[in-house]
């Protein structure tokens, strides 16, 4: 709970700083605030407190997901701060980011459907603005607008689902819904099932799972690169946290019914994401499709709810997010050159030999090559799916991750090709260096010691 207050505090201080003209303090305050948030998330461990008449429930999953989100946010902030500072709206953008983070913390700690809806909206509305924050860029405006319209559409679907469920069982509270489902398991109405399906689809939009992914490539490509990094990491982790909490908290009794929905979402996401990614020439767009495919992999542990589900989601989320942020630090440098094509990376290995190795490692982690974090994430995700008996799904997952290896390697090959006609220069700031090394180290450590996360919950 204090995590939420600390993060919201950052946003408020950022806005006041603008009025008092002390914008310099924003970054230190944000770092301090996030550090406090991380600390409070840790101190909430095993407390299991309910807040506001059981609107929110800080159990260990909430604490773990909050901590992961806050840690990703710290690294993200370090990466994004040079970009946030350019232009006139440093404090506004920082405040929006902080509110968006607050929304994501709500999403992983709700215990009432109304809170879940609020969390999603707090997260999304800030992001609509952030996506369009590069005011002078037509693409950025388009991205914000597209995201807003389609997001509103998805919210509508989600809210319709919530309403139907309320109609069926007369409550928003997770525990009460769960009890209702458990007692009336045999004769639940079609209204209830429709509600569940609509909520799943609403959240599928947030995690960018196919076939509700259409917004993702365009929005990812058009938004400022740092915001894209935010969307593809923090938003995804938060949405998965919410999805898991919802399914495990309310609907674990009717798990056979919704498993097929997840199977379809997962298979379609893996195939569409990976196949489309092979056809991209823009690095940013490639990452958008790859993030769709990762949503597909992350759905695998949800096929059965067991002890492993939460932890493997957490491990996968961490592995994916840290590798992605590290790679986005490269994309943000490429964005400064206004050339985000994969070919513009030619000659990169020659001019930045060590960085080329680090980025290759991060890309290989996303591709799932041992002994990196991405491999361990995939390993546990596949293992969880195998345990639930979905062998054929795991086979599809393995085939599609092979396709994944192809396009990640394409990027690595591009880096190691000699310089082509363009000789773009890449200027890394100290911030990006810190982010890159941190992500690299985390990727290595999690790959060798997955127990750090798996042994937790």
């Amino acid at each position: 709970m204090n995590t939420l207050i600390a993060i919201a505090g950052i946003g408020i201080v950022a806005m006041i700083a603008d009025i008092l003209r002390i914008r310099k303090i924003i970054f230190p305050v944000a770092m301090a605030g996030l550090a406090i948030a991380a600390f409070t998330a840790v101190s909430d461990w095993n407390t299991n407190t309910r807040y506001f008449n059981d609107m929110m429930f800080f159990d260990n999953y909430a604490a773990a997901f909050s901590l992961l989100i806050v840690v990703i946010a710290i690294i993200w902030f370090v990466m994004a701060v040079p970009d946030l500072k350019t232009g006139n709206h440093y404090s506004d953008k920082s405040a929006l980011v902080a509110f968006s983070l607050a929304g994501s913390v709500v999403m992983v700690s709700f215990s009432n459907l109304a809170m879940l809806f609020l969390g999603i909206e707090i997260l999304s509305v800030s992001l609509y603005v952030l996506a369009a924050s590069n005011k002078n860029n037509l693409l950025s405006n388009e991205a914000g607008f597209k995201y807003f319209i389609m997001g509103a559409f998805a919210t509508g679907i989600f809210l319709f689902g919530v309403a139907l469920i309320y109609g069926a069982c007369g409550t928003f509270n997770l525990q009460e819904i769960n009890a209702f489902v458990a007692t009336n398991k045999s004769d639940l109405s079609g209204q209830m099932y429709t509600g569940v399906l609509l909520m799943i689809i609403g959240l599928s939009f947030k995690i960018a799972a196919a076939p509700f992914h259409f917004w993702a490539p365009d929005v990812y490509e058009g938004s400022p690169t740092t915001i894209t990094a935010f969307m593809s990491t923090i938003v995804k982790v938060a949405a998965f946290g919410a999805l898991y909490r919802l399914m495990a908290g309310c609907f674990s009794q009717i798990n056979e019914w919704w498993t097929t929905v997840f199977i379809i979402l997962s298979v379609v996401s893996m195939l569409v994401g990976n196949i489309m990614a092979t056809r991209q020439s823009s690095f940013k767009r490639l990452l958008a499709f790859s993030s769709i495919s990762h949503a597909g992999y992350m759905l695998l542990p949800l096929l059965t709810l067991s002890d492993l589900t939460g932890t493997s989601l957490l491990l996968y989320g961490a592995a994916y997010a840290f590798a992605s942020i590290g790679i986005f630090s490269l994309v943000s440098v490429m964005s400064e050159n206004d050339d985000e094509s994969i070919d513009s990376l030619n000659g990169f290995a020659k001019s930045h030999p060590i960085k080329a190795i680090l980025f290759s490692v991060l890309l290989l982690s996303l591709a799932g090559i041992p002994p990196l974090a991405g491999f361990m994430g995939k390993y546990y995700a596949f293992y969880a799916a195998l345990k639930s008996g979905n062998t054929s799904i795991v086979l599809i997952a393995i085939i599609s991750s092979l396709i994944g290896v192809y396009y990640y390697l394409q990027v690595i090959i591009a880096m190691y090709k000699p310089t082509g006609h363009t000789s773009a220069s890449f200027r890394f700031t100290i911030y990006q260096n810190i982010v890159l090394w941190t992500c690299f180290l985390i990727t290595l450590i999690l790959g060798i010691f997955p127990q750090l996360i798996i042994g937790w919950l």
Binding site: K146, I157, I201, F212, F214, I264, M276
Partner: protein
């Protein structure tokens, strides 16, 4: 004491990081010192551990750091365990390792990749320590692979020479064959006992009856691993080639430590081996054949390091014979003394090569005793020790092996005694040809001859003292003095010694001892006559004929392997390339890529960029889900 364990391997690892990361930015004078001090620190801690283990028989230190892996029922801890067996190995690795590090400071001082050398050397020590300190088979395997890697890197240290690279690859590949055996053995252990921790596996195994087939399979597979690492027939040919590496590497890795890993592993798993039928006999026969074969080949080698290499193979054979007859502590005793005298001999050889400006052919040496007094004297001590003359170290350990072997099978004793006489012959031949007689090198070399710097002679002297006196830790029973090492190690093999307690009477032991000694003296006298009195020089390669030619050609084992394994493999892989690779796989892979590409084009048509289309697609998808869930 537990809290100290991590220091031992971490110190050399830090040394590796410093020398490895900063490379040539580390001042030259400093990199060698850093590396040596790191190993010395480990030695001091090992000594403390050793002393504190002296008291209680069943004491062992275990320190668990974290759970490394937990999948299903398999739980692996990152944990170190030091019992008496480990502590002996620790002393050898860090003690002899330290001396060799110091020696390398002098030996490598002209090399441009000074810091890289020490980085590798420290990394090797780190992995070797991991190998002996790990508390489960997996950690041991990590160390096992790690030392293999370092051995590869160090054999090919001078990578600009392609022959050296080939030697490195050969060592690596031969080791991989052995590793496969070890790995399969590990899988089978896990399947049988449900664990890979030493405690659990071994205490569980003790409840098994003697002669279970699964135990025989496990131990045979483990022994295949030991064959590779410890250069036994048929996987021994890599070790002589490994002499391509710098001489300190040969001393540290290919004489004193890594090659004895196989012996350590078998002693560690002695419960399994004791309970197995057939495997011990098999080990003894392989060891015996290796000891004989390598000793015969050693007779006709003219490269100073090659002679020592074959002698190492042969001595390792001795140790395996001891393991085969159940004399685990004796084998380890020989590991220790062998580390002393073979380390010493290699370092002396290095000193000679250093003085000769890189020359390794003993036919071009001779009469070096005057110019290299320290090297000469220490080499002589090493030769006396390896030949097994009292009171030098080799006498005690080799005698103990021979007696134990006699107790189990007299004919094996005979063959092994022959191998030990051969040892004396080739070693004294090496000594006389190198140090006595006239100098046969070029004039330029003669002027250049000099004794090595103190950093090189100091380790020689220390090792010479150890080679001379080290044997007294294991005095034979007939002298009524305590056999320190076998008493110290008794708890490790407690279970096994209750199984095979065959002993010979004191009279027999004395007869054996005296007769072996007599044979040795006759052999040495014969060599002395030939190479010193008659001043014979080993003939040039083209004049060698008859059986000698077969010996000089190393029994043509390499050539046999080429025809038996390499050529057929190449033929198969050629066929595979032609039909499976280009035909089948390439077709399937390219086909898949084309299908994926076409699919991508297809899906792409929906991704128009128009919001209206997207919304429409989403609604269609929503309806599709509805239909799937409610209509079908």
């Amino acid at each position: 004491m537990e809290s100290l364990l991590w220091i031992i391997p971490v110190l050399p690892f830090i040394g590796f990081l410093i020398n490895g990361i900063f490379g040539n930015k580390v001042p030259r004078s400093l990199s060698g010192i850093i590396a040596s001090v790191a190993v010395l620190g480990g030695f001091i801690v090992s000594l403390l551990l050793f002393i504190s283990l002296l008291g209680d028989e069943n004491l062992s230190f275990t320190s668990k750091y974290f759970t490394w892996f937990h999948v299903g029922d398999l739980k692996l801890d990152m944990a170190f365990m030091v019992d008496r067996l480990t502590s002996v190995m620790l002393l050898v690795i860090t003690g002899v390792g330290f001396l060799i590090h110091v020696y390398s400071i002098g030996y490598m001082h002209d090399d441009k990749d000074y810091s890289r050398f020490f980085a590798y050397l420290n990394l090797f020590v780190f992995f070797m320590l991991l190998l002996v300190m790990g508390s489960n088979y997996v950690l041991m395997f990590v160390g096992w692979e790690g030392v293999g890697l370092c051995s590869y890197l160090l054999i090919g240290f001078w990578f600009t020479n392609n022959n050296f690279n080939d030697a490195a690859k050969k060592a690596f590949i031969m080791n991989r064959i052995g590793d496969l055996g070890f790995l399969l053995g590990m899988f089978l252990i896990y399947q049988t006992f449900g664990s890979l921790n030493f405690d659990e596996v071994h205490s569980n195994a003790m409840t098994y009856a003697y002669g279970q087939p699964v135990l025989t399979t496990i131990t045979l597979l483990l022994f295949v691993g030991a064959m590779g690492k410890s250069a036994q027939i048929p996987l021994f040919t890599w070790l002589p080639d490994a002499m391509a590496g710098p001489t300190p590497v040969s001393a540290l890795i290919h004489a004193a430590t890594m090659v004895t890993a196989g012996i350590y592993m078998i002693v560690r798993a002695n419960v399994l081996f004791t309970l197995s039928v057939f495997t011990p006999e098999f080990i003894a026969v392989i060891g015996l054949l290796t000891a004989l074969l390598a000793a015969f080949i050693g007779l006709k080698q003219n490269d100073i390091k090659k002679v020592l290499a074959y002698s190492t193979v042969s001595q390792l054979g001795f140790m395996f014979v001891a393991l085969g007859v159940g004399a685990y502590t004796t084998a380890l005793f020989h590991v220790v003394t062998h580390a002393f005298f073979k380390g010493l001999l290699f370092l002396c050889a290095g000193s000679v090569i250093h003085a000769m400006g890189g020359e390794q052919d003993i036919r071009k040496m001779g009469g070096l005793s005057a110019k290299l007094p320290v090297t000469h004297l220490t080499f002589l001590i090493g030769t006396l020790a390896i030949a097994g003359l009292p009171p030098f170290a080799g006498f005690f350990s080799k005698d103990e092996i021979l007696v134990k072997v006699f107790a189990s099978s007299p004919w094996m004793y005979g063959a092994l005694a022959l191998a030990s006489v051969l040892t004396a012959i080739y070693m004294f031949r090496l000594y006389f040809v190198t140090f006595k007689g006239q100098f046969r090198g070029s004039h330029h070399q003669e002027e250049h001859l000099h004794e090595s710097p103190p950093s090189m002679t100091f380790p020689l002297i220390v090792l010479a003292i150890l080679s001379a006196l080290g044997g007294f830790i294991g005095i034979p029973e007939i002298f009524h003095a305590p056999n320190l090492i076998s008493e110290y190690l008794a708890p490790v093999t407690h279970f096994s010694s209750s199984y095979s307690a065959r002993a010979v009477s004191h009279e027999t032991e004395i007869i054996l001892l005296v007769s072996t000694l007599l044979f040795l003296l006759v052999a040495i006298w014969f060599v002395y006559n030939k190479y010193v009195k008659r001043q014979a020089i080993p003939e040039p390669d083209e004049d060698i004929a008859g059986f000698g030619k077969t010996l000089a050609g190393k029994f043509y084992v390499d050539e046999i392997y080429t025809y038996l394994i390499e050529k057929p493999l190449n033929a198969i892989s050629g066929l595979g390339y032609k039909f499976i690779e280009t035909g089948l796989i390439k077709g399937v892979v390219d086909g898949t890529a084309q299908v994926v590409g076409a699919l991508g084009l297809g899906i792409r048509t929906i991704q128009t960029g128009k919001t209206g289309t997207y919304l429409f697609a989403m609604v269609i998808a929503l309806i599709a889900f509805m239909v799937i869930k409610f209509m079908i």
